[in-house]
């Protein structure tokens, strides 16, 4: 797994600079086939997160006697050693994976942006020390931190959300802070200041909304990353407990048999993760490119 939090992209360079957000996204959709694919994947993943468990063709957690069957017309993706229908579970898993990603990203976006706003706006020793702390946290291998905290606080969905949220706060914090640093000297802020607005009002009323865009553009990428972390944790037994339908855990349950030829248990949930994270990454890159064009 790799962190995809990086620099601007130029795949979407054809995108021009129209006015409103909606219009800009439309433009992006029109010009970039990659973005269209990505958006379709993201929309499907989000829909499955809502309805996935209800459209399953078989019960999700009921052991049956149809064990280790290859794909067939009855079990489209085959069954695992518990006799679970893999197709049903692949569709139901976004309920866990995408929800965790969504919740964790929302939390880290909110807290990170707030902290970024404060440290950017109110510089001085407090802001500096927060930045040093962030530096230090970022120098630590985060996946191991996630393992330690999740295992020790109990392997539950809430704990996975909290940990992934914590891991991603520094990204949003930095983004917001650098925005604030440039925005606070800008004319509209100056204007607000000279018209007598209080500093806090300026910070929240003017700087925050304007500085949020890069964070929002980053959010899909962070969500993709969160899905990878969730699946990774479950894969090594440090995430959600079995038999919860979760892609990483499903891959793990087939890891022992893929080397003797029973490939379907691991392959299908893996394709699901692969496509989903790719979709989120594409959408994120697209939005980021759009934001950068906009300047």
């Amino acid at each position: 797994m790799s962190a995809t939090d990086t620099q601007p992209e130029l795949e979407f360079e054809e995108v021009l600079r129209p006015a409103g957000f909606g219009a800009r996204v439309k433009e992006l959709l029109r010009t970039s086939w990659l973005f269209r694919i990505g958006l379709v994947i993201v929309v499907i993943a989000v829909i499955l997160a809502i309805i996935g468990p209800y459209i399953a063709r078989f019960p999700l957690e009921t052991a049956t006697l149809d064990t280790n069957e290859g794909p067939s017309s009855k079990h489209w993706f085959g069954t695992d050693s518990n006799g679970f229908d893999i197709f049903s579970r692949v569709l139901a898993a976004p309920r866990i994976d995408v929800s965790i990603a969504l919740a964790a990203t929302a939390i880290s976006l909110a807290i990170g942006s707030l902290l970024g706003l404060l440290t950017g706006y109110f510089r001085g020793w407090a802001g500096e020390s927060v930045m040093r702390v962030v530096d230090t946290i970022q120098a630590f291998p985060l996946f191991v931190l996630a393992i330690i905290v999740v295992v020790m606080t109990g392997r539950s969905i809430q704990n996975v959300i909290i940990v992934i949220a914590l891991l991603n706060i520094p990204i949003f914090l930095r983004m917001m802070r650098s925005q604030v640093l440039s925005l606070r000297e800008r004319t509209f802020v100056e204007a607000a200041r000279s018209s007598g607005s209080r500093e806090l009002n300026i910070a929240f009323g003017h700087v925050l909304p304007n500085g949020l865009s890069p964070g929002l553009a980053q959010a899909p990428i962070t969500m993709g990353f969160a899905i990878l972390v969730t699946a990774g944790l479950s894969f090594i037994g440090a995430g959600v407990q079995p038999p919860t339908p979760e892609w990483g855990a499903m891959i793990a349950s087939g890891a022992d048999t893929i080397v003797i030829g029973e490939w379907w248990t691991s392959v299908f949930p893996g394709i699901a993760i692969s496509l989903t994270v790719f979709g989120f990454a594409v959408v994120g890159e697209g939005l980021r490119a759009m934001y950068l064009r906009q300047g």
Partner: protein, 615 residues
């Protein structure tokens, strides 16, 4: 518990013994839970009695004729293996003293089985599949040519002309040395424990004072080949403990050559440097933690085996062992999942040998965890447990998850052991009955059930085959209204908590080696309270009635009435259900196609004695 962890704990146990910081009882208990007793008593189990009718076959040849074990059945496949075997194990023995800190390790027990000889062994006959099935309760002499019991006095005659790997002849001096070594303090007092079980030595702590190291009345030399052992009270266990791996007889001459003032019994030498036994093999190379190589002892009294050179290698991953045996890189391995054995069995290059011995799968609902505690009411607890027993789809588990290599367990004592009672279909899969009992217990449809016991734990490392069992049970329990969650625990933690800490609220026990030479001993191990000598009562079961009968049978010299008492004990168990018996599974070993003569042992060393293997 990892092997290493176990060694550490055993070592600490030794320290307790030497400092006297633990009572005898505590020592025994700790020794027991560390797997010393499990393996010991497992061996004891192999001689339980005559309740098992072994397939009619000729007993092993009388000891005097050398290549005796297993001559006939022709190999089904003409495997060209040569005279060397590569045996893959999960660990390699870090030490080789039968009373050393690594005794608890399977790998150590396996190595000792090749290096040392014993006075007697259980008799075995080779079945059609090439398995030397132990005949419980019958013995053949090994180093002993004959023995005679007269009250508390046992007179032994040693075989003459037995030569050790180092070239020294066996005499009663070697027996004296080996017994004195047991009586002197050792890092783990396993030999002392065994001789106590056999009622040869007293329950006093082993000698820690060098001046008291000698043997007293328990042992007497008559001549070079005759000696006398004296019991303190009658006990049927002498013959049953003698084959235990750590009671191998040492070549005293070689041992004394390597003794020092600080280490008069050559513990460092025997544990870390070399072996000094009369066994079929001796060590040629030993890379601790990685591999051991052995070559045949040219002087071995039973003659040369087919396989002259052995290499034991450490391959912790099951998948890797499967691959290696399939490709022919290795010849023998064990410790695989039922599925892996099943897959290997389909392969032309590999044969899977099985022996329905003493490995069981059971549920352990803890009496200290709700809801299984029944709020402290034994009747509620019993009803809940019985509901569990009726809710388990036994046949599905045996067929789907164990590929038929198991049988339903109809009791709480391993079915092959002396005194075991088969309760038939006392419990069978009957969800309606389970619902009734649940309602009777006050939890109709499962409403009101809560507590940590609704989380079922199993060994995470075994997930590939035990998790489907857990899910099958979870699904079946949900069907009757008991909703449980799963919580796989790392093996080290599971084993430690299960054997030592007794605090897993609800456990799915797998690969448990049933232990106890007979129903009485297995009860002591699993079901008796610690106060009355219970050793590994992992669910904290406490029944005064049960304990009372146990204590009576323990000192009952009358065979018939003792059998009746053991039956009465099991009648209580099958109603109380401290554990929910599910199935007994086969012990299995995978060998290169054509290898026969596997001699399964009920202790930890599933590989057994390689001397008996042949093509």
């Amino acid at each position: 518990m990892t092997d290493h962890e176990k060694s550490q704990q055993i070592y600490q146990l030794g320290m307790h013994a030497i400092r006297g910081t633990m009572s005898r009882k505590q020592l025994l208990k700790r020794a027991a839970v560390l797997g010393i007793v499990p393996s010991v008593v497992a061996l004891l189990a192999a001689c339980g009695g005559d309740s098992v009718a072994p397939p009619p076959a000729e007993p092993e040849a009388p000891p005097a004729d050398p290549p005796a074990d297993a001559p006939e059945p022709a190999p089904p496949a003409a495997a060209d293996i040569g005279d060397s075997l590569v045996i893959l194990e999960t660990e390699i023995a870090p030490g080789l003293d039968g009373e050393g800190t690594s005794f608890g390790q399977i790998s150590t027990q396996t190595a000792l089985a090749q290096l040392y000889e014993h006075l007697v062994q259980p008799m075995r006959t080779e079945d059609a599949n090439g398995v030397l099935v132990p005949e419980f309760g019958t013995y053949e002499g090994r180093l002993a040519e004959s023995w005679e019991q007269n009250g508390l006095e046992w007179t032994w005659k040693l075989r003459e002309g037995v030569i050790s790997a180092a070239g020294n002849e066996l005499t009663t001096k070697d027996i004296e040395y080996s017994l004195a070594r047991i009586k002197a303090f050792s890092p783990i007092p396993i030999g002392w424990f065994l001789m106590t079980v056999a009622s040869i030595m007293s329950l006093d702590l082993p000698n820690t004072d060098p001046s008291e190291r000698g043997l007293a009345d328990e042992f007497e030399i008559v001549d070079d080949y005759t000696f006398i052992l004296r019991q303190m009270e009658p006990s049927p266990n002498l013959l049953t403990v003698l084959p235990v791996v750590s009671l191998g007889i040492y070549d005293s001459a070689k041992m004394l050559e390597n003794a020092t003032d600080e280490d008069p019994f050559s513990r460092d030498f025997a544990d870390q440097v070399d072996s000094a036994g009369f066994g079929a093999y001796s060590i040629t190379n030993w890379d601790k933690g990685e591999s051991i190589s052995m070559t045949v002892n040219p002087n071995y009294f039973r003659g040369e085996p087919e396989f002259k050179n052995l290499t034991f290698r450490r391959v912790p991953q099951a998948g890797a062992r499967v691959t290696a045996i399939q490709s022919g890189d290795a010849n023998v391995t064990t410790g695989l999942s039922p599925k892996e054995f099943h897959e290997l069995d389909q392969s032309d290059a590999v044969d899977v040998l099985g022996w329905l011995g003493n490995v069981f799968v059971a549920l352990g609902p803890n009496y200290k965890s709700e809801p299984w505690a029944g709020g402290g009411d034994p009747d509620t607890s019993r009803l809940l447990r019985q509901a569990l027993a009726y809710a388990i789809p036994y046949d599905d588990i045996i067929e789907q998850d164990f590929f038929g290599q198991a049988i339903k367990w109809n009791g709480l004592i391993s079915s092959k052991f002396y005194g075991a009672v088969d309760f038939g279909d006392r419990y069978s899969y009957d969800p309606d009955r389970a619902r009734e009992l649940l309602a009777e217990a006050g939890f109709p449809e499962g409403t009101g059930l809560e507590g940590p016991g609704l989380t079922l734990s199993y060994i995470a490392e075994h997930a590939s085959f035990i998790e489907p069992v857990a899910n099958r049970i979870r699904t079946a329990l949900a069907d009757v209204g008991i909703n449980i969650e799963l919580d796989p625990l790392p093996q080290t933690q599971f084993v430690d908590r299960e054997t030592n800490l007794d605090d897993i609220p609800f456990s799915l026990l797998d690969q448990q080696v049933a232990i106890g030479p007979d129903a009485g001993y297995q009860s002591q191990l699993n079901h008796v309270t610690p106060d009355n000598g219970g050793l590994d009562n992992s669910v904290n079961y406490a029944s005064a009635e049960f304990d009372a009968i146990y204590l009576e049978q323990k000192v009952n010299p009358d065979v018939e009435s003792r059998l009746a008492q053991m039956e009465a004990m099991q009648a209580i168990l099958i109603e109380d259900l401290p554990r929910i018996p599910i199935l007994e599974r086969a012990s299995q070993i995978a060998v290169t196609a054509g290898i026969r003569g596997w001699s399964p042992k009920p202790d930890g060393s599933r590989v057994g004695e390689i001397w008996t293997m042949h093509t």
